[in-house]
């Protein structure tokens, strides 16, 4: 297969779709630009977004280009284990809101870095900002590259002009609209995505003579027997139990620390509204995930039936190839609009996340006396700068930045989640533990990965490449170090630690909604030691060679 097989033949169709969707996004951005008067409006949409719109926006931020392209290809390559990898991603927002979303909301934090700054001070905040910028940059470059490839298919342009054009157009509308514009655009994009995935999929399943075509998310069981005849191992587990445990350690714990998702919660109009986002989010994301598995299943079935082995590049385009094979070309153009929406909405969330970390959290700490107007101006510069820097890096990205986003989730699980979650639930975690745990475990994760010192890499193949093998060591180390160093610091630096603990008692009780401080809530070291002990067997298992 060659690019000609998935290229739109009618260039006017591609141009019309591009102008129509971006025309809509710019209109929404311009309307919301007038409503942005301060930094809270720019970064958090003035904390005014209702649950329905916010749930669509959060879902849209979570759906990336991969939802339409990469996932289907990976289902073809990895079969059932990849479905298990993908299923748990839905837990990100529920666990985030459950474990720390409401607390950050009460603190009026702008991001997780802002929380770290309030909880542990500026040095730990700078460390957290460094990790988060690295994670978000890795995430964003993948999205920019994906969008550029979509522009190639839509407009028939070479890769580099596609990248520059798409990056400038996207940066423009996000900078104009800020978080308000991005939120309403994200919500619109989520609706486009759902229609673009599910409706054409129903037509594909109908063309395949599947009786359950009218409900694509669960209606494709009629293909199972034929698929099993061609690929008998499709539904096999293929990996040992440790692989499935690593999905929790690396991915579930990693995604619940992602700043762009936390920021979505913080745009809510109230804490109760933020909680109502969760079921709606699960509805939209669940529907999209079910649709994605169905599309992957149909893709595997189609190419197994015609006996064609796909190259990696062609496998990435399975959704487009299926639509071009079974639906008219205008339907494929609409599906591409869905892919664009998926990529653009993720980039929007990431760009605003990066801009908030840089413009609010870092500049705000370095220059706390900035006026409201100057904060806003820095915010716009940070947004535009984020887009331009990402474009420049994406033109010729360093190899370590284009590793899988799953690897970046492992880094988040290691270096960010422990200090945030433990800091919300325990007054005994202090700056020494948080800083040491994050720095040492983050460095360990990078050092043991196959991308830095290949000779020291833990595991081989996919478990090493995606960071699963490393996470089983570095995440336990992160939690254990954060706890042990915090408790040890209480003994070693008695006076300073006592002051720190007193402040943490006030902060932690308040962020949980208590109006008066008792200094007894969240103050036990017992459960911290139990948690550290529970991580030990996982660490031991992680140390066993794969």
């Amino acid at each position: 297969m060659t690019p000609a097989d998935w290229q739109l033949q009618n260039i006017w169709l591609g141009l019309s779709i591009t102008f129509a969707v971006f025309g809509l996004y710019y209109t929404v951005a311009l309307i919301n630009n007038r409503k942005t008067t301060n930094a809270t409006d720019l970064y958090l949409a003035g904390r005014s977004v209702g649950p329905l719109v916010n749930s669509l926006a959060a879902s849209s931020t979570w759906m990336s280009v991969a939802t339409f392209l990469g996932v289907v290809a990976l289902i073809q390559q990895l079969h059932l284990p990849f479905v298990y990898m993908w299923v748990q991603l839905i837990l990100s927002v529920p666990l985030l809101v459950l474990l720390y979303g409401a607390s950050l909301y009460r603190m009026e934090a702008f991001t997780s870095v802002h929380f770290v700054q309030l909880r542990y001070g500026r040095n730990t905040a700078f460390l957290a900002a460094g990790w988060m910028l690295l994670i978000m940059l890795m995430y964003m470059i993948g999205q920019f590259i994906g969008i550029a490839k979509v522009f190639e298919v839509l407009l028939g342009l070479p890769y580099t002009p596609s990248l520059i054009l798409s990056a400038l157009v996207i940066t423009g509308y996000i900078t104009i609209g800020g978080m308000k514009g991005a939120t309403y655009n994200d919500a619109i994009q989520m609706v486009i995505m759902m229609i673009a995935l599910i409706v054409p999929l129903a037509a594909i399943l109908k063309a395949m003579d599947v009786s359950g075509y009218w409900f694509p998310p669960l209606g494709y069981g009629g293909l199972t027997d034929t698929l099993l005849e061609r690929i008998p191992t499709f539904f096999d587990l293929k990996f040992e139990a440790r692989f499935y445990l690593a999905l929790f350690v690396a991915l579930t714990i990693g995604t619940l620390g992602l700043p762009q998702l936390a920021q979505r919660v913080l745009t809510s109009e109230s804490i109760k509204a933020a909680r109502i986002v969760v079921p709606w989010f699960c509805l939209w994301v669940g529907l999209m995930f079910l649709g994605t598995y169905a599309m992957g299943f149909a893709g595997v079935y189609h190419f197994a039936l015609i006996g064609e082995e796909l190259t990696r590049e062609a496998a990435d385009k399975t959704t487009l190839l299926l639509n071009l094979a079974y639906n008219p070309e205008w339907v494929s153009a609409f599906v591409i609009a869905g892919v664009l929406a998926a990529g653009v909405s993720t980039i929007a969330g990431l760009m605003i996340g990066v801009a908030t970390v840089v413009g609010h959290d870092i500049v705000g700490v370095l220059r706390p006396q900035l006026t409201e107007n100057k904060q806003l101006r820095y915010g716009y510069v940070a947004l535009a700068g984020t887009g331009v820097v990402s474009l420049l890096v994406s033109l010729n990205p360093p190899a370590f930045l284009i590793t899988s986003i799953f690897w970046a989730f492992g880094l988040c699980a290691t270096a960010i989640t422990p200090m945030v979650v433990l800091g919300v639930w325990s007054t005994r975690i202090n700056v020494w533990g948080a800083f040491t745990g994050s720095l040492v475990s983050g460095a360990l994760y990078i050092a043991l990965s196959p991308y830095m010192f290949a000779g020291f890499s833990v595991g081989t193949g996919i478990v090493a490449a995606l960071g699963f093998a490393t996470s089983l060591i570095s995440v336990p180390v992160g939690f254990i170090l954060t706890i042990v160093v915090s408790l040890a610091a209480e003994k070693l630096t008695a006076e300073a630690a006592a002051h720190e603990r007193g402040r943490a008692q006030e902060l932690v009780e308040t962020m949980h909604g208590w109006a008066h401080v008792t200094r007894t809530r969240y103050d036990s070291s017992q459960w911290l030691l139990i948690l550290a002990a529970l991580w030990m067997p996982i660490l031991m298992w992680g140390l066993v060679p794969w």
Binding site: Q88, G286, W514
Partner: protein, 109 residues
């Protein structure tokens, strides 16, 4: 302290169930798989994984959302009761200003 204990226990309980719903791969490793047992034409372990990981998580989120919002009211009620016969330590000015604690009660509503 009742609402506090409820908060801690419910967070652990809801969290564990969420994790179990999204990680049925480990169940399949423990219980084994059989492609001949089908639901809607799909092998049962695959069907369980995708439905619990979507519809199951959705239903659990509805239950959690209702519970957590009710608990929020209980915390607020305890705050009111504490204010009436307050013997606890008030929040210090620096912490209050750094986290906008004045808006805590307002936000909870």
């Amino acid at each position: 302290m009742t609402a506090y204990i409820k908060e801690v226990r419910s967070t652990m309980g809801f969290g564990i169930i969420y994790v179990l719903l999204g990680h049925t791969g480990l169940w399949a490793v423990l219980l084994g798989t059989n492609n001949s047992i089908r639901v809607l034409g799909l092998p049962v372990h695959y069907f369980i994984a995708i439905t619990l990981g979507s519809i199951g998580v959705l239903i659990w989120s509805i239950i959690w959302c209702r519970y957590a919002n009710r608990l929020e009211d209980e915390i607020e009620a305890e705050n009111v009761a504490t204010r009436q016969g307050n013997t606890d330590v008030p929040i210090s000015t620096d912490v209050r200003s750094s986290i906008g604690a004045d808006k805590v009660t307002e936000a909870a509503k």
